[in-house]
C-alpha cells in the first residue's frame, strides 16, 4: 500500500492525531499496565473522531505507541478488509503517515478486534486489542465500585460459581468468546471478545499485548511471555474449540473459521477468519476443497 499523507490533516493535527500531552498520559497508563499484568489501569480516555465502542481505546493505545518508522496492520474479525479495519487503518495513514501492511509478520504494531492472528507473533511486535467491556466480572456484578474491590481482594469465587453453574446446567462451560483468563496467578482478565480458540495464544507470547477500552477508560497489558491461564476445573479442562472443518479456500485444519452462507438452501462454506493467513497459504499453493487458483494473491 502507498502512503496517503493528507496535507490538511497533517497540518492541523499532531502525529498520530493525539497531542503529546495526551500520549504521555496514555504511555504512563501503559507502563503501569505492563508493570502489573492483567490489572485495569484507569486513564483519561479522550473523545476520538470515531464513536465509542468502535475501537477508540485501541486507537488511543496505538496512537501512543506509534513512531514514524512503524508498520501498522489493522484487523477486525481477523480480516484486513472489514470496513472498520479499513477505516482505522486509513485514519492512521492520514494522521501519522505510517507504512501499513496486511502481512502479520511484517507489522510492528497490529491493532485487532476480536482475533489474534494465526501466524505466531514475534519479539518486538505490539498487538493492540480493542476492548468493549474490560471488566471480566461485569456481567456478574454491574457495579464498578464492587468489581474493583473484588479484584483488590482477589475475590474471584463468583466467576468460578458462574462456570460451575454452566456445567451443572449445560454439561459444559457455556462461554465461547471473551473467555476469562488469570494472568500470572493474580488478576482475572477479560481477553476482549476473541473466540476461546485464541486464548492459548495469549500465554507466553513474545509480543507485547496491550488492551485499550476507550469508553470504559481502562488500559491493561500482558508483557511478553506472560503466563496466562484460561479459567477451568480439573474435571472440565479448558478446550479451545473451532468449527470441525478445514478451510474451504486454503485447506488449513488449524485456523479459526468463519461460516459463510452461500445460498438460501442451507449451503455453507468455512473459510479462515484470518485473511492474511489464508491468502498466504493459497499463494503457497495450498488449496482447500473450493479453493481455486484464480484466488491466488487475493482479490
Amino acid at each position: 500500500m502507498t502512503l496517503h499523507a493528507d496535507p490538511v490533516a497533517a497540518e492541523s493535527y499532531n502525529f498520530a492525531y493525539l497531542d503529546e500531552q495526551t500520549k504521555r498520559m496514555i504511555r504512563r497508563a501503559i507502563l503501569k499496565a505492563v508493570a502489573v499484568p492483567g490489572y485495569q489501569v484507569p486513564f483519561a480516555s479522550r473523545e476520538m473522531p470515531m464513536p465509542y465502542g468502535w475501537g477508540t481505546g485501541g486507537v488511543q493505545v496505538t496512537a501512543a505507541c506509534l513512531t514514524p518508522d512503524d508498520r501498522l496492520k489493522v484487523i477486525d474479525q481477523g480480516a484486513d478488509d472489514t470496513t472498520n479495519a479499513v477505516s482505522i487503518r486509513k485514519f492512521f495513514q492520514r494522521t501519522a503517515g505510517v507504512a501499513v501492511t496486511e502481512a502479520t509478520a511484517e507489522a510492528t504494531v497490529i491493532q485487532t478486534r476480536h482475533r489474534i492472528p494465526e501466524t505466531p507473533l514475534t519479539s518486538g511486535q505490539i498487538l493492540v486489542y480493542q476492548v468493549p467491556i474490560p471488566e471480566p466480572l461485569r456481567f456478574l456484578e454491574p457495579r464498578e465500585t464492587e468489581t474493583r474491590k473484588m479484584h483488590e481482594l482477589e475475590e474471584y469465587g463468583l466467576i468460578h460459581v458462574k462456570l460451575y453453574e454452566d456445567i451443572a446446567r449445560h454439561g459444559t462451560i457455556a462461554t465461547s468468546y471473551a473467555y476469562p483468563v488469570k494472568v500470572e496467578g493474580r488478576y482475572v482478565m477479560d481477553p476482549s471478545p476473541i473466540p476461546k480458540f485464541d486464548n492459548p495464544k495469549l500465554s507466553g507470547s513474545p509480543a507485547l499485548q496491550l488492551f485499550g477500552a476507550g469508553r470504559e477508560q481502562r488500559i491493561y497489558a500482558l508483557p511478553p511471555f506472560s503466563h496466562v491461564v484460561s479459567l477451568d476445573f480439573d474435571d472440565h479442562p479448558f478446550e479451545a474449540t473451532k468449527a470441525p472443518h478445514d478451510c474451504d479456500l486454503c485447506g488449513a485444519d488449524d485456523s479459526y473459521l468463519d461460516e459463510v452462507i452461500t445460498d438460501d438452501q442451507g449451503s455453507r462454506m468455512f473459510v479462515c477468519s484470518d485473511t492474511d493467513f489464508c491468502r498466504t497459504r493459497q499463494a503457497e499453493g495450498q488449496l482447500g476443497v473450493l479453493g481455486a487458483p484464480v484466488l491466488k494473491g487475493g482479490v
Binding site: Y13, P42, E47, G53, Q77, R113, Y177, Y256, T262
Partner: protein
C-alpha cells in the same frame, strides 16, 4: 462461488459521497447557512454546545448542519473537535449573581429584588401550530424595556442569610476536570455536576422526572431560574489580575428542597444545582433535581433504591456520545463471536439429543 467481503474502502468512500448528497437534499431548495442555523435554531445550537462541552455557537451550528440535524451526532462532532484543542488554563468561576439576565423567575417568592422577568419563553404560549410561519411572514418587533440596572441577587443568598438553607461555602479547592481525569467512584459533587451538565438531556430529564414521581422524591421548588450572559475571567499571571476574555450565555437553576432533617443534619432547606450553557432551561431544572437526588448520602438521607439516587448508574449512563457509540457498535461485524456461539449452541443441542436418545 464465495466472494470475500472485499472492497471495504471503496464502499466507505461511496457511502460517504451519498451521505453528503443526502445531507444537501433537493438542490432546488436553498441551502441552509451556518448563520441561519445559529440564529433560527438557537435552542438546538445551545443543546449541542451544552452536551458538547464547548461554547461556540458557530461551530455548534456547523456541526448541526453537517449532522443533518441529528443533535447527538452534532454533539459528537463538537466533542471530537474539542479534544484536539489545547487546554490553556482554567477561568475564574463565573459570577452568576452578576449575570445580565434575560429571564429570571422564582417559584418560591411572588416578588423579590430584581423582580420576576419572563424573558423569551415558550411558557404560556398556546401550542398551536403557527401556519403563518410556513408563509415566511415577517416578525413584528417586540416591545423593549430599559435594561435592568438594579442588582439581581440570588434567591438562595436571601435564604442563606436567614440560615434557612444548608450553606454551601465557597472553597479554594480546584475541582477535578471530567475531561482530563478518568471518572472514579464515588465521585465528588463537582465531578457529578460536570457529568450531569454535559449528560444527555433526555436521560437527565427522565431521571429528574422519576424523582418527581416518587423514585427518590426530593420535594423540589424552583427557587430561582435565571438565564443570561456572564463574563468569563482569567487570571493572567504576568499581569497579576484577572482579565475578561469573553461572555457566555448560561442557564442556572437552583432548587429549594424540603428537608426534615436527618440523623446528622438539622431541619432546613437544601439545594439542588443546575448550570448549563445557553438557554437550556429544561436541562438546567432537570440537572438540579438529579443533583439533589444524588446528594442523599452526604445529607444522611435514606437510600430508597431509586435509580436517580444511584450515582454510579446515573453517571455511567448519562453521556450520550458514549451511549450511542456503544449501542451502535453492535452493527459492526461480530461474525467471529457469533461463530463461536453457533458452535456452542450446536454442540449443546447435539449433547442434549444424544442424551435424550440414550434415555429412550
Amino acid at each position: 462461488m464465495y466472494v470475500a467481503v472485499k472492497g471495504g474502502e471503496r464502499a466507505i468512500d461511496n457511502a460517504h459521497a451519498w451521505l453528503a448528497e443526502e445531507r444537501r437534499g433537493d438542490l432546488g431548495v436553498a441551502e441552509l447557512s451556518v448563520a441561519q442555523i445559529r440564529e433560527q435554531l438557537a435552542l438546538a445550537v445551545n443543546r449541542v454546545m451544552a452536551e458538547g462541552s464547548l461554547f461556540d455557537p458557530d461551530l455548534a451550528a456547523l456541526a448541526i448542519k453537517q449532522a443533518r440535524g441529528d443533535l447527538i451526532e452534532a454533539i459528537f462532532l463538537i466533542r471530537a473537535y474539542r479534544t484536539t484543542l489545547p487546554r490553556l488554563g482554567a477561568s475564574r468561576p463565573v459570577d452568576t449573581a452578576a449575570m445580565a439576565v434575560i429571564r429570571r423567575i422564582s417559584a418560591t417568592f411572588k416578588d423579590l429584588p430584581g423582580g420576576q422577568v419572563l424573558g423569551p419563553t415558550f411558557d404560556y404560549t398556546h401550542r398551536l401550530l403557527d401556519f403563518k410561519l410556513a408563509a415566511e411572514g415577517a416578525v413584528a418587533r417586540a416591545e423593549t424595556a430599559p435594561a435592568l440596572v438594579a442588582a439581581v441577587p440570588h434567591v438562595m443568598a436571601m435564604l442563606d442569610r436567614d440560615g434557612l438553607i444548608a450553606p454551601e461555602p465557597a472553597g479554594d479547592a480546584v475541582p477535578d476536570d471530567l475531561t482530563r481525569t478518568p471518572m472514579e467512584l464515588p465521585a465528588s459533587r463537582a465531578l457529578r455536576l460536570q457529568a450531569i451538565s454535559r449528560g444527555d438531556e433526555g436521560f437527565i430529564l427522565s431521571m429528574a422526572y422519576s424523582t418527581q414521581r416518587g423514585y427518590g422524591r426530593t420535594h423540589a421548588f424552583v427557587g430561582e431560574l435565571r438565564i443570561g450572559a456572564v463574563a468569563v475571567e482569567m487570571d493572567i499571571p504576568a499581569l497579576g489580575f484577572a482579565v475578561e476574555i469573553g461572555e457566555i450565555e448560561v442557564t442556572e437553576c437552583e432548587t429549594v428542597n424540603q428537608f426534615k432533617g436527618s440523623k446528622t443534619e438539622p431541619a432546613q432547606f437544601t439545594r439542588g444545582y443546575g448550570l448549563v450553557f445557553g438557554q437550556t432551561e429544561r436541562k438546567a431544572i432537570a440537572m438540579s433535581l438529579v443533583d439533589r437526588a444524588l446528594r442523599w448520602e452526604e445529607l444522611g438521607e435514606d437510600n430508597s433504591g431509586a435509580p436517580a439516587q444511584d450515582a454510579e448508574f446515573v453517571l455511567m449512563h448519562a453521556d450520550n456520545v458514549q451511549a450511542t457509540g456503544f449501542l451502535e457498535h453492535i452493527k459492526l461485524p461480530h461474525y467471529v463471536d457469533f461463530q463461536s456461539e453457533l458452535e456452542l449452541v450446536r454442540r449443546l443441542r447435539a449433547d442434549a439429543s444424544a442424551s435424550a436418545e440414550a434415555a429412550e
